[in-house]
């Protein structure tokens, strides 16, 4: 490690952390770093906007389960990344962001392309630090990866002044990282586990609420095993989608504002709710006093600050989801409990039958649910769906059945329009052998559509399905429902022509007018080695249902 420059030390440490790809854009304050990357066997994927390098790293992390790394220059490069970092923070995604910074001598003097990125990202990162001394680079970067990936994962930003990158390291790297203020707890408390089992065993109408934490801790198998052993139906949050196969008889789908009929109805009946790796966001709970009002809540989360933050908890377990589910399973097996669930199962069937009788398809034309619904049969089990934000996202959540964890990737907390496309590119880099599809709206896609250049030039083929209603669809839906159809600031009026746009970037574009046409175009797109944008004109008047109106409780669900 002697006689390396700071920039060489960055690349050396990244390689020791197992980094094979990074998403980044060069610039003045990272020139030394990129000069080293020129010869390094780490592939830099050159994006076209720094917001997207963070989203790509995020999508890479969510799809592959390994931390994503993104790089930008100082000042505007760094501030452009802010949305992507905030997005990763809200959804607990492990990314390491490296930013260049003005040289130390001019920091604080409003130097060219200087921005206080440490100050700016403090509230939206798990940890952020500036490297003030070249000797600290290996330790700081290793610490960044450790913090990003352990406990509750999250983004970490390391800001490295340009002259630190060019300084020479003389000392050896310390072997271990010691963080006296960071000791993530992993193991569930045995007494809490025993209490949880007692509650679940005596419950008549138990339900599991599976969140993103199950996916992050690789606990899907364990969640399903416990659910099957105890015959517990499973609802998910948006982030938990895919944690258990949604075609499983015990799967109820997503709960919340645009949750499924059965999940939203049945959670009101539950007497014990086993909530694992969830944070009870307002989009999940609706009005808090109307969220599973009759249930005692067991809350398993690795972040103790989530316990009691939004809803009152009867039994907290601060631990890793997988470890907890395994211990619950073991204890239930040891007790040799058999659960009589036939009244609860018949209630579930009754609600499902109700929904079938409530449903009617009164739109003979091409609708978003029909397109999204067709996708499952066109894709293998491990294909990855990403979504943008708004109606497209909720249609995808409602009508696409995820069968495996890490196959449904969506901006849950921050609700970032423009996330889905760069996230799809990141996911494709992590999983090059499965089809990756961004379910998009026209409003969202145009926010990051310049990454078509990245996908073409870097040869990362994905499929973008634009559900094109020429509106900011979800905004328009609210304006229809609550603002007397006054479409202020939401009419996009059919621009651009997405076919020509795709072609301008060297991608393929196609417009389809029926489900059959869509299926054919989609199959061609899956087979293609170039990114394809399929634009599907749909009615600007189409709404997403079911829906819990804002500020209302789950019982106030409306169906049309």
């Amino acid at each position: 490690m002697t006689n390396m420059t700071g920039a060489q030390a960055i690349v050396d440490t990244l390689k020791k952390e197992g980094v094979t790809h990074l998403f980044g854009i060069s610039g003045g304050a990272v020139l030394p770093l990129y000069d080293v990357l020129y010869d390094a066997d780490i592939r830099n994927i050159l994006a076209r906007h720094e917001q997207c390098v963070a989203h790509m790293a995020d999508g890479y992390a969510r799809a592959g389960g390994r931390p994503g790394v993104c790089v930008s220059t100082s000042g505007p490069g760094a501030t452009n990344m802010v949305t992507g970092i905030a997005n990763a923070y809200m959804d607990s995604s492990p990314i390491v962001a490296i930013t260049g910074q003005a040289p130390r001598a001019v920091i604080g003097k409003d130097a060219f392309q200087e921005a206080d990125i440490v100050g700016i990202t403090t509230p939206i990162t798990k940890y952020v630090t500036q490297v003030e001394n070249v000797e600290e680079i290996p330790k700081t970067l290793r610490t960044a990866f450790y913090i990003a990936t352990t406990g509750r994962p999250g983004p970490v930003l390391v800001d490295i002044p340009k002259d630190v990158q060019t300084s020479v390291i003389t000392r050896q790297v310390p072997a271990s990282i010691k963080l006296r203020g960071y000791k993530p707890r992993d193991d569930p408390h045995p007494i809490q586990v025993k209490r949880a089992v007692d509650m679940l065993v005596t419950a008549e109408r138990p339900m599991m609420l599976a969140g993103g934490g199950i996916i992050l801790s690789h606990a899907s198998q364990d969640a399903l095993k416990l659910a099957e052993l105890m015959t517990i139906p499973v609802a998910t949050t948006l982030m938990g989608k895919g944690s258990i196969p949604e075609t499983h008889p015990l799967s109820l789908g997503m709960v919340g504002m645009h949750g499924t009929y059965e999940a939203n109805k049945l959670i009101l009946d539950a007497d014990v709710l086993l909530a694992v790796g969830v944070r009870f966001s307002d989009r999940t709970t609706g009005r808090v006093d109307g969220f599973c009002p009759d249930a005692q809540i067991i809350h398993v989360d690795i972040d103790s600050a989530e316990i009691g933050k939004n809803v009152m908890i009867d039994l907290p377990i601060v631990a890793d989801a997988r470890k907890t589910l395994r211990e619950l399973y073991t204890l239930v097996v040891r007790k040799a409990v058999t659960n009589e669930r036939s009244p609860w199962l018949s209630r579930i069937q009754q609600v499902r039958d109700q929904y079938v009788s409530e449903q009617r398809d009164d739109n003979p034309g091409l609708t978003a649910p029909k397109i999204v619904g067709a996708l499952r049969d066109l894709l293998p089990r491990h294909a990855i769906i990403t979504t943008e934000v708004g109606q497209n996202q909720m249609w995808a959540a409602l009508h696409f059945k995820a069968l495996a964890p890490r196959t449904f990737i969506s901006s849950g907390g921050l609700g970032t329009m423009g996330f889905g496309f760069p996230a799809a590119l990141g996911a494709k880099v992590a999983k090059p052998n499965v089809p990756v599809v961004d379910i998009a709206g026209d409003g969202s896609f145009i926010m990051t559509e310049q990454e078509l250049a990245t996908s073409v030039i870097e040869e990362i083929p994905v499929i973008v399905v634009v559900l094109n209603n020429s509106m900011l669809g979800m905004v328009a839906q609210w304006q229809r429902m609550f603002y007397n159809r006054r479409y202020a600031g939401s009419k996009l009026k059919n621009s651009p022509d997405f076919v020509k746009l795709a072609e301008a970037f060297g991608a393929q574009g196609i417009r389809v007018g029926s489900v059959d046409e869509f299926s054919r175009a989609f199959q061609d797109a899956v087979a293609s080695d170039v990114t394809t944008v399929i634009t599907v004109p749909i009615s600007p008047e189409e709404d997403v249902f079911p829906m819990i109106p804002a500020g209302k409780a789950l019982k106030d669900m409306v169906l049309r």
Binding site: G119, P123, K126, I147, G181, Y182, A305
Partner: protein, 170 residues
């Protein structure tokens, strides 16, 4: 989640003594909507650690959240609540009291003595008095000083330690 019993709590936090940590802590309070009544920061017996004494008011749920959110910060090493019965809390105030004449001055000095304070500066028409004590005592002295007229005032906010032999360890 709002309880009704709003109370004052004293939080003692051992943190990394390095630039930006005060910002990080203060920023967490701001963004989560918690209010700081007072905050004092200084180095501890270890040169790389600082102690923050933070006085906050809120209900029990809010305080629990504050403690948990503080614990989440990587640069925060240890956080405890100091219970009012089992801690020593001290604050220091400097009050520049208007002393219009020699009678006012001698009265002011007399009050200062009763409060076990010290006169640390004298000018023709004012004195600066230093008083140390718990916050109630400081409040009482300030109230008393108003009868003379307070020209200006600076108080530090409370700093505190738990009583007895126990210490906060990382």
């Amino acid at each position: 989640m709002e309880g009704n019993n709003v109370q004052s709590y004293v939080i003692s936090a051992i943190v990394e003594h390095k630039p930006g940590v005060l910002y990080e802590v203060a920023n967490m309070f701001r963004r989560r909507g918690f209010n700081i009544d007072s905050i004092t920061v200084g180095r501890t017996e270890h040169k790389d650690q600082a102690r923050m004494t933070i006085t906050v008011s809120g209900d029990v749920y809010t305080i629990e959240q504050i403690i948990k959110q503080l614990n989440k910060l990587i640069n925060v090493i240890k956080v405890i609540i100091l219970e009012s019965g089992s801690m020593v809390s001290r604050e220091l105030v400097l009050v520049k009291i208007h002393t219009a004449d020699s009678k006012a001055r001698s009265d002011a000095i007399q009050y200062t003595n009763i409060f076990r304070g010290r006169v640390v500066d004298v000018a023709p028409d004012s004195v600066i008095v230093e008083v140390t004590g718990d916050s109630e005592k400081i409040d009482a002295f300030i109230d008393l000083s108003r009868s003379f007229g307070i020209k200006e005032l600076a108080r530090t906010g409370a700093t505190a330690l738990g009583r007895g032999g126990k210490v906060i360890r990382e």
